[in-house]
């Protein structure tokens, strides 16, 4: 019971740090940067769920992040254009608004699409792939191929997607100037609160019977079948949830950073998200979130100093973590904590199986 209380206290402390301390202490542009990291953290939360809990290594979260981002961007572009064609379409020689764009003029539709489109696509892929028991490395490769194809599609369909430049130059975000400090502050709060709520929901899911089932599927998919469950359903649901989270993250990213473009969704950024989760600690949701914030912070500050070096550092960090601490920072923390606890008061060793009377 006390562990549970401590958990809540910790969550409240972190929430206070992000909702009170950070906004007071940081200048607006740093706060906006933090908001960007929190967007990645939302996507990372989804990866923690799918990969850490469910064992599905998804290397294509950029796709769902992008779908959410583009849904949001399309609405903002149409809103800015005010009945005319969005600027980039004019430059690409498009003379009529494509049918795909039309419904995104409606903010409700666009906001719903942010979640629904990624969820539908992930469900479709999940049903097709998991039902056929395609898993592990095969699944990872497929998701990576999906990311690659998606980016090529976005770049190639210039008139429809803005090509390499993506969607940018937004002037009006739900009645606010996106560049204004007050708007950035608001989007920061929205992002932080969304992350907090999604974290609590995801945590509830992990603790639920479904969460236990998910871990069972991760550790013994074939055995789970003989308990009367269909692992494909469990995996598809989880994968869809993680895709929905990535979609929300992408949608929040647009007002926070002011752009959504293919280079943000490619194979490498998708992989970097997974890397961040691994470094933070894939087996806990908190580790995933922590990893995403820390990695992206490190990337920004390091790139400011020594851009080329970052790739060496990222590579080395990653090799090091995979080799020495596959459970990530959280795993290291747990090890240290247990070691200290053991030294402080020698607990009797847990009963080994043979000692326990049967």
């Amino acid at each position: 019971m006390s562990a549970r209380l401590r958990g809540y206290a910790l969550f409240a402390g972190v929430a206070a740090l992000f909702l009170v301390v950070a906004p007071l202490a940081l200048p607006a542009f740093r706060l906006d940067e933090l908001a960007k990291y929190l967007c990645f953290a939302i996507a990372a939360l989804g990866i923690g769920l799918a990969w850490g809990q469910g064992g599905m290594l998804t290397l294509g979260q950029g796709v769902f992040f992008g779908l959410g981002g583009y849904a949001m961007g399309m609405y903002l572009k149409l809103h800015d254009a005010g009945g005319d064609l969005p600027d980039f379409m004019v430059w690409s020689g498009v003379d009529k608004l494509p049918a795909l764009w039309k419904p995104f003029g409606n903010p409700v539709f666009a906001l719903a699409a942010v979640v629904v489109v990624p969820v539908v696509i992930a469900t479709l892929l999940g049903v097709l792939v998991f039902r056929q028991r395609v898993r592990g490395a095969y699944f990872a490769i497929l998701t990576q191929a999906l990311a690659a194809a998606f980016v090529i599609l976005l770049v190639g369909q210039q008139g429809l997607t803005g090509g390499t430049n993506g969607l940018t130059n937004f002037y009006d975000f739900f009645g606010q100037d996106p560049e204004a400090d007050s708007t950035q502050r608001t989007t920061y709060f929205v992002t932080a609160i969304v992350l907090g709520v999604l974290y609590l929901l995801a945590r509830q899911l992990v603790k639920s019977r479904f969460g236990r089932l998910l871990v069972a599927v991760r550790d013994g998919e074939d055995r789970v079948r003989f308990l009367g469950y269909n692992p494909a359903t469990v995996k598809t649901i989880t994968f869809a949830i993680s895709a929905g989270m990535a979609g929300i993250a992408g949608a929040l990213f647009v007002p926070v950073v002011g752009i959504i473009s293919p280079s943000l969704l490619d194979v490498v950024p998708s992989l970097e998200l997974v890397v961040a989760v691994a470094i933070g600690g894939r087996y806990t949701l908190a580790g995933a979130v922590l990893g995403a914030v820390a990695m992206n912070y490190a990337k920004t500050s390091f790139s400011e100093q020594w851009a080329d070096g970052w790739l060496y550092l990222e590579g080395a960090l990653f090799i090091g973590v995979m080799t020495l601490a596959p459970r990530g920072a959280v795993g290291v923390y747990e090890q240290v904590r247990d070691a200290i606890a053991r030294r402080r008061k020698p607990v009797p060793a847990p009963p080994t199986a043979s000692e326990v009377p049967a």
């Binding site: 509830q204 899911l205 603790k207 639920s208 019977r209 479904f210 236990r212 089932l213 871990v215 069972a216 550790d219 013994g220 074939d222 055995r223 079948r225 003989f226 308990l227 009367g228 469950y229 269909n230 847990p350 080994t352 199986a353 043979s354 326990v356 009377p357 049967a358």
Partner: protein, 248 residues
């Protein structure tokens, strides 16, 4: 019309090798049936076909009147057939209770799965009691010994509330004490379940079996009670030959 499991003309071929060559088998409601035979006789293959893990080349498997051909594994479980594996597979990161709860839970509708487990359900408590792992209820299954894992698996099977239990070599690799305990467990379960046991261990067979089916090279050789089967010269030749002296 009390046959729970009816297998007719079952054939299984692996890349040209005939693992089962036309097996007929009927298991009545409430029966405790032992399935024996030398290595490669097709015992596990037979269970694999019934539970949907292996697809037969021809033949039918009917369970309580339902044809099982082409059904996926979890659907077959949902009809009421449960099984264990030779190498026990329990979920090491989950506790003993969580393992049992998972096994008991497949009939729950999805929305209730989203809730956290509070306490221990009657089914789980009963299973825990039967297998005698109450002391270890909240320990992760990873710490269990080999024998305890086998019992947990049997417990998970009971918690599923199946109408037919298929146990694949439940005492393989067990110590003498563990065997005795498993035998008692088996007798207890067989009182209100229909059970098919694949077993190698002859001594275990003699102590706990009543009805026995002997498989040999993918075919049913003999069927009957223990004494009849043991006395049959064909059985002695292919299987009990090694222990003839002991049997006599």
């Amino acid at each position: 019309m009390s046959a729970l499991l009816e297998i007719r003309g079952l054939e299984v071929v692996f890349d040209g090798f005939r693992a089962l060559g036309g097996v007929d088998l009927t298991v009545e409601q409430g029966e405790l049936r032992f399935l024996i035979g030398p290595n490669g006789a097709g015992k596990t293959t037979l269970i694999d076909v019934v539970t949907g893990l292996t697809r037969p080349a021809s033949g039918t498997v009917r369970f309580a009147g339902t044809e099982l051909g082409g059904l996926r594994e979890h659907k077959i479980v949902r009809l009421g057939i449960g099984r264990t594996f030779q190498t026990s597979v329990v979920f090491e990161e989950l506790t003993v209770v969580e393992n049992l709860d998972l096994a008991a839970g497949f009939r729950r509708p999805l929305p209730t799965l989203l809730r956290q487990r509070r306490g221990v359900s009657d089914t789980v408590a009963a299973a825990l009691d039967t297998i005698g792992l109450g002391d270890l209820a909240d320990r992760p299954a990873g710490v269990l010994s080999h024998g305890q894992r086998q019992w947990l698996e049997i417990g998970m099977l009971i918690a599923q509330k199946p109408r037919l239990l298929l146990l694949d070599e439940p005492v393989a690799g067990m110590s003498r004490d563990e065997r005795d305990r498993t035998g008692e467990l088996l007798t207890e379960i067989a009182r209100d379940h229909t059970v098919v046991v694949v077993e190698h261990d002859m001594e275990f067979l003699r102590r706990y079996a009543s009805q026995v089916t002997v498989l040999h090279e993918g075919k049913v050789l003999v069927e009957g009670d223990v004494a009849t089967v043991q006395a049959d010269p064909r059985v002695q030749e292919v299987y009990l030959g090694r222990t003839k002296k002991e049997a006599a």
